[in-house]
């Protein structure tokens, strides 16, 4: 970092997050004035134009990349048309101890007088809950599944390379051409297609207007700027904003600024899950980097400075806060923009380049919370690239995570994508696979497998509430074999996947028809070609995911039941269920036996690992290939973010010895502390699953620094990763730290605010995590060598 980027970084870290009511006010005023004047897509595009025209701009001192979503850095807008915070929500956000957002009295006043009166009963969330069936709501309330789109729009996609050779004027030309092709004589949808295309065109104009306002602001600042160097910078910024996004970028600086405008547009238009993401940033920037070096307009240092300014922009944008139960599910400032480094080119050759190395150096030096970063490691990626990344990981900031680029391609081929589109794809959010710039891959929510097993052990009754949530699948006291129990679990699983999918399809259609995303649609193939919105199936590829949570816990629960109740007969299943219902009260010896003397997933022990496979295969069979409501298919993913903590809190004691309310296992990682055979055994266990049939799996390993300290240790670590990827492992991430270090941070958070740990698919500030999550991370097995 130089003085400029060190200062901007410090400002970004020190500025407290706050809520801004400006967007809510502008949207509400626009809707009040215009409701009923336009079709839905045009209304949305005009609302976006209204925002671009009237929102407060920010251009900070010494900034080189410009533009904020809110009126200033770390000031987060709200999206009342999706979910409208109550005054109570706002007060909680202001006062809660973790991941708080400052809410001032002005914001409360705007909400009380303007926003809430208009959007109560009109927001997507309110209307959704009117429409969803009662049994869906009961399952949702019981914590069997969550629903992503109850508070945020579908979103969740990544940009490819198209903006680097296509300006907004080029996009507008394509949109015009699509309008000319419309067939009003025979196509019954021609009118709605035209309205959709109109909305696309308006949103292109909106972004150009937004950039033009920045150009004007930069010139205004230049006029009064006393320092000649800064004045020159401001005039250059103005010139850049004149050129992009209207035209394709020519310079490195323009390329970054263009992406940033697109990013802001996507996350201002709607509040899509996992914000937005430049994808293969190193590959996209390389031509600009090489050209700049060749013609002398750029140096490596300048390129690095510009990317650092770009990274700080991401960190200025904490995730918009959620309401209700979801706040507990994933309380984080992270908005999951996950930049891909390395990977493959479209022709299948190695994609890591000099910009990849700059990115890794920046990640190491800046260690910001956002953006997230990952490396895409192919068997074609050179060892020095992997070792460079491991050296960064060994610093203990949790970044970057490591993905298997070859498996990522194979997963997409299974879903029917072309080879080139698959190679140009990668990972986003936590671990999700997508064809960048061409796919809507929507996450619909987490699914609590362990709760479903709990229901199977109680004939469909939720033991916390006594409600009959699931079908009656038999009294477990009557089960004569393990197979009968598993069949009961399968029946419960099918019931709740049916329920989940029915709810999700309804919500998908609500978004398709009432909450389109015209600007995002301009960026994603083939929305313009098909004249169909991103949220309505306009993307070339459509996939919809259910994220299964608690796989490791499931394997251990089933292993305990199978061994103790059916094979050894030491405890009847009836007695086991009684012990669970009493949270093992007075049964500590039994609980200890279940924890320590049964087969556990994560030890390369086929007994438990085969049960993991049975559960995974059951999930796959229930979900994969079901049609979604956008013309695509449902798929499974194995990732929890932080939801395993919430799901644990609503699930009673289980046969793996876990007490009621404690977290479940996360991702495909073993139960915390159950892996006792070292990292190779964990990787072997996890590698038994067919990762290719998923849309992403998440595996967390915690490493003590002494296991990665020397060059020799680093090489062995690299081989460990390569070994896992030989088995088609999708993803692995490493936390390199000591439990002692974490205890210190827990005891004195004020002194360890900068401590970042990988949680589950992303990194977060350790001190911002809940106490339970902190405890869990400490408990996660440290793979100490002798």
């Amino acid at each position: 970092m130089n003085d400029r980027t060190a200062k901007l970084r410090r400002q970004s870290l020190d500025t407290p997050p706050s809520l801004s009511a400006e967007r809510a006010r502008l949207i509400t005023e626009f809707y009040q004035a215009n409701a009923g004047r336009y079709t839905v897509p045009v209304m949305r595009a005009r609302a976006f134009l209204h925002l671009c025209e009237h929102k407060t701009l920010y251009l900070g001192d010494d900034e080189l990349v410009v533009g904020e979503r809110g009126p200033r850095p770390k000031s987060v807008p709200t999206f009342p048309e999706l979910t409208c915070h109550s005054l109570e929500d706002l007060r909680i956000l202001n006062s809660r101890p973790k991941t708080w957002y400052r809410v001032d009295s002005e914001c409360l006043k705007v909400y009380e007088e303007l926003v809430i009166p208009y959007w109560r009963g009109r927001s997507m969330r309110d209307r959704m809950f009117e429409e969803l069936p009662l049994d869906w709501k009961a399952a949702y309330a019981a914590g069997i599944f969550t629903e992503f789109m109850e508070q945020r729009a579908p979103g969740h996609t990544v940009l490819d390379d198209k903006i680097y050779h296509h300006g907004m004027l080029d996009f507008k030309r394509d949109i015009r051409a699509a309008m000319h092709r419309l067939d009003f004589l025979s196509d019954p949808h021609a009118y709605s297609k035209r309205e959709t295309l109109k909305s696309f065109e308006i949103s292109c104009d909106a972004l150009m207007l937004f950039a033009a306002r920045h150009a004007t602001l930069a010139r205004e600042q230049a006029a009064t700027e006393p320092r000649p160097e800064r004045r020159a910078e401001l005039l250059e910024i103005a010139a850049i904003c004149d050129r992009v996004p209207a035209h394709a970028p020519v310079t490195f600086h323009e390329a970054l600024q263009y992406y940033w405008f697109c990013h802001l547009a996507v996350i201002t238009e709607l509040n899509g899950w996992d914000s937005f993401n430049p994808g293969h940033l190193d590959q996209h920037l390389l031509p600009f980097y090489e050209r700049g070096l060749a013609d002398g307009s750029l140096t490596r240092e300048r390129a690095r400075e510009l990317i650092e300014c770009f990274f700080i922009k991401f960190n200025n944008h904490p995730a918009p806060p959620k309401v209700g139960v979801t706040a507990a599910e994933s309380g984080t400032y992270t908005d999951f923009a996950n930049i891909n480094i390395g990977g493959l080119l479209r022709d299948g050759s190695n994609g890591a380049n000099e910009v990849s190395r700059i990115l890794l150096d920046i990640v190491e030096e800046m260690h910001l919370l956002q953006p997230s970063t990952n490396i895409q490691l192919s068997c074609k990626s050179p060892d020095d690239f992997l070792q460079h990344a491991l050296r960064v990981i060994s610093r203990g900031y949790g970044f970057p995570s490591i993905f298997n680029a070859d498996t990522v391609v194979e997963e997409q081929l299974r879903q029917g994508k072309t080879l080139e589109d698959a190679r140009a794809g990668g990972c986003s959010g936590c671990v999700e696979v997508g064809a960048f710039g061409k796919e809507a891959y929507i996450l619909t929510g987490y699914f609590n497998l362990v709760k479903v097993l709990e229901l199977a052990l109680h004939d469909g009754v939720d033991s916390r509430t006594g409600l009959q949530l699931g079908p009656t699948t038999g009294d477990p006291a009557e089960f004569g074999s393990f197979a009968e129990l598993f069949a009961a679990f399968r029946a419960q699983l099918r019931h709740f996947v049916d329920l989940k999918v029915a709810g999700s399809r309804l919500i998908e259609r609500m978004y398709a028809e009432e909450m389109p995303a015209p600007f995002l649609s301009v960026l994603i193939d083939d929305c313009v070609l098909k004249a169909r919105d991103y949220n309505a199936g306009g993307a070339r590829y459509n996939n919809t995911f259910i994220q299964m949570v608690g796989l490791g816990s499931m394997a251990d629960c089933l292993s305990a039941i199978k061994e103790v109740c059916f094979e050894q007969g030491k405890v009847s299943l009836k007695a086991m269920v009684q012990a669970l219902d009493q949270n093992f009260e007075g049964q500590e010896v039994l609980r200890q036996r279940l924890m320590h003397r049964t087969h556990k997933y994560g030890n390369d022990d086929d007994y438990a690992d085969n049960l993991m496979l049975d559960v995974f295969n059951a999930c796959f069979a229930e979900v994969d290939g079901r049609p979604d409501a956008r013309g695509g298919h449902y798929r499974v993913e194995m990732l929890p973010t932080t939801c395993h903590v919430y799901f644990g809190s609503v699930t009673g004691a289980m046969p793996d010895g876990r007490l009621a309310g404690m977290p479940l296992s996360e991702g495909i990682s073993p139960v915390q502390g159950a892996d006792r055979s070292g990292p190779t055994a964990v990787l072997k266990s996890a590698g038994k699953m067919d990762h290719v049939r998923t849309g992403g799996t998440l595996l967390n390993l915690k490493f003590a620094p002494n296991l990665v300290g020397s060059e020799e240790a680093l090489q062995k670590w690299a081989h460990l990763v390569r070994g896992y990827f030989k088995m088609d492992g999708h993803h692995v991430q490493f936390n390199v730290l000591t439990a002692e270090h974490l205890r210190q941070a827990q005891a004195k958070p004020e002194a360890h605010r900068d401590l970042i740990v990988r949680v589950a698919g992303y990194s977060d500030y350790f001190c911002d995590l809940s106490f339970e999550l902190q405890e869990e991370i400490i408990a996660r097995t440290e793979h100490q060598e002798f």
Binding site: E588, V589, R597, G678, T680, A681, A713, K716, G723, H783
Partner: protein, 301 residues
């Protein structure tokens, strides 16, 4: 097929030879080094331990034992029990696995099954299997069969030895061993006897003999403050190591205290007192001594 007594199989063992390895620890050692970090390896017989951090004092072990009496108390059954017939009931009854038997009778086939589980990690990393101890040559037939089976499976083989073995056993396994990790602790015979309980004569003669025919020997020197870290002692060790043709490198292993809690669990006295690990500077100084004799020297490994 031979059987042997194994006390641990450690996967992702990264300090016992090249690449990613699995180390098989065979039980029993002819030496009794005061600083031993694996005190559970010394006895050639099975031993009972109780991991104090895991014991919850539930008394299940006592209730399971047919021979326990009132003198054994209500909680955890004492491990030093002359009446024990090794029936295993107390270990089976322990719900937390605090109570364990160190040392498991295993066949070559069983060991190989465990070793081959990590084959995928050996192949690219240049790793393989390491047989350590204790002293693996205390079980020469078992070791020879394990090495032959490993060779047949295409694995790189390493033997970690203290050198205190019959020369014919050592030379017998040499053709099946890709790499020897050979301990050299002290050159002074009297001090060697004082700290390890045995003369070093056989150890030194064996190394000379092995070094004439085997070309991959790494010398391992545990650096123990006050025992062998003085300049003259290190120089003698270095001079000897440099005189053996097959020696390729020297690894200086700083003493650490992981053996202390293990000894306590075994009910053994810890003879080290409050001996602290050597400072980094002392390790560097020791490495310099070896380098002066033209040896490639590394810390750890």
């Amino acid at each position: 097929m031979a059987h042997g007594l194994v006390f641990n199989i450690q996967r992702y063992s990264v300090h016992d030879g090249p690449g990613i390895r699995t180390t098989v620890f065979l039980k029993g050692c002819p030496l009794h080094c005061a600083w031993c970090h694996n005190p559970e390896s010394i006895s050639p017989r099975r031993e009972m331990v109780v991991m104090e951090t895991r014991c919850i004092g539930c008394g299940e072990c006592g209730r399971a034992c047919e021979l326990a009496d009132a003198a054994d108390g209500e909680g955890c059954l004492p491990i030093q029990n002359g009446r024990c017939t090794w029936c295993g009931a107390c270990v089976e009854a322990c719900p937390t696995a605090a109570r364990q038997v160190i040392g498991r009778e295993m066949s070559v086939e069983e060991v190989m099954r465990a070793v081959l589980q990590d084959r995928v990690f050996y192949e690219d990393s240049g790793g393989g299997v390491t047989f350590s101890g204790g002293e693996p040559l205390m079980q020469p037939d078992f070791l020879a069969e394990l090495l032959a089976a490993s060779r047949a499976a295409g694995l790189h083989t390493t033997v970690d030895t203290c050198g205190m073995a019959k020369i014919e056993h050592l030379l017998g396994i040499a053709p099946l061993t890709d790499l020897f990790l050979y301990d050299l602790k002290l050159m002074d015979e009297a001090r060697h006897r004082e700290f390890t309980g045995a003369s070093n004569r056989v150890i030194l003669e064996n190394l000379q003999a092995l070094g004439l025919t085997h070309r991959q020997i790494w010398i391992r020197v545990p650096l123990v403050p006050g025992v062998n870290d003085d300049q003259p002692a290190l120089e003698k060790t270095a001079r000897f190591a440099a005189s053996v043709p097959g020696v390729r490198q020297v690894n200086v292993l700083p003493f650490h205290r992981t053996g202390t809690p293990k000894a306590r669990r075994l009910g053994k006295a810890d003879s080290l007192g409050d001996l602290a690990p050597p400072p980094v500077a002392a390790v560097e100084a020791a490495l310099d001594v070896f380098r002066q004799f033209g040896l490639e020297a590394r810390a750890g490994g």
